[in-house]
Symmetry: C2
Subunit: 157 residues, 2 copies
């Protein structure tokens, strides 16, 4: 039963379980031609801080996750083309949030002009891959930690 | 402004941002005397699947995260004592969920009897540390992926 409906998510109560129900989302570990991973820093009003995160976005209804990922990466950073693969898919907070995240890895990307949505205030940050290990302590977002660590893990194995 | 209140979380709307607001939580990378990481498998009604996860739990009001972690690990697995350190802290889904997770690492633990909450149906699963790399594909929970990968990452560096 839907007990509250917003623009970003709804609240369901099913057999006594309270659920924040949201469309799925994607995030991208994007590596540019100079072997730098491309991150975005933005204000996150829901948690009251600026966070450094993988480029990411919500899946539109009926859209394939890979199509969302290509669209969001191009809008947020201008990067496009390249080689893509799925890195992982996981639940953000399965105790009470129905929100599944698919993480892609992309390399061989071409540079282009970013076209952020109106109201999105994104700072693009590029970290050389070899510096990521030492900078993990700067990250406070679950998908970004999980995605970058999986990417590094696969590089080394 | 609070627009909905449940037992597990509330919904706030602040300056137009919709927020699922929840107490913080903890998760534990617990390694037993035989160098196995201790996981729990449980039904997650909010997402409709059984998931394999780090032992975890919500922080009671006024409780220190480390105290929650020691209590939850003992309740869910019986493991207690040992050496503890904070591994990381991060936001689960900072786009719309105010839910911060602190992950601890614990080793040198003593075995004991689990005392799960009524209604908790937990299966304890132990993975030898050297098998975790190859079994990451079995994990679909953000905190578990991030926590285990960080733990392995620190072991190797």
């Amino acid at each position: 039963m839907k007990v509250w409906e917003g623009k970003r998510f709804s609240v369901l109560v099913e057999d006594g379980t309270e659920i924040a129900d949201s469309p799925g989302a994607v995030a991208i570990v994007a590596v540019d031609a100079e072997e730098r991973v491309v991150l975005v820093r933005q204000e996150r009003p829901a948690v009251g801080v600026k966070l450094l995160e993988l480029p990411a976005g919500m899946i539109d209804e009926g859209e394939e996750p890979l199509a969302t990922a290509r669209r969001e990466l191009r809008e947020e950073t201008g990067l496009h083309g390249g080689n893509w693969r799925e890195l992982a898919a996981f639940w953000s907070a399965p105790g009470f949030v129905r929100h599944r995240l698919t993480v892609f890895a992309a390399d061989g990307l071409e540079e282009g002009a970013a076209e952020p949505d109106e109201g999105e205030d994104l700072e693009i940050v590029r970290w050389p891959l070899e510096e990521v290990d030492a900078r993990l302590v700067e990250l406070e977002d679950a998908k970004t930690l999980a995605g970058l660590l999986l990417y590094l893990h696969e590089l080394k194995s």
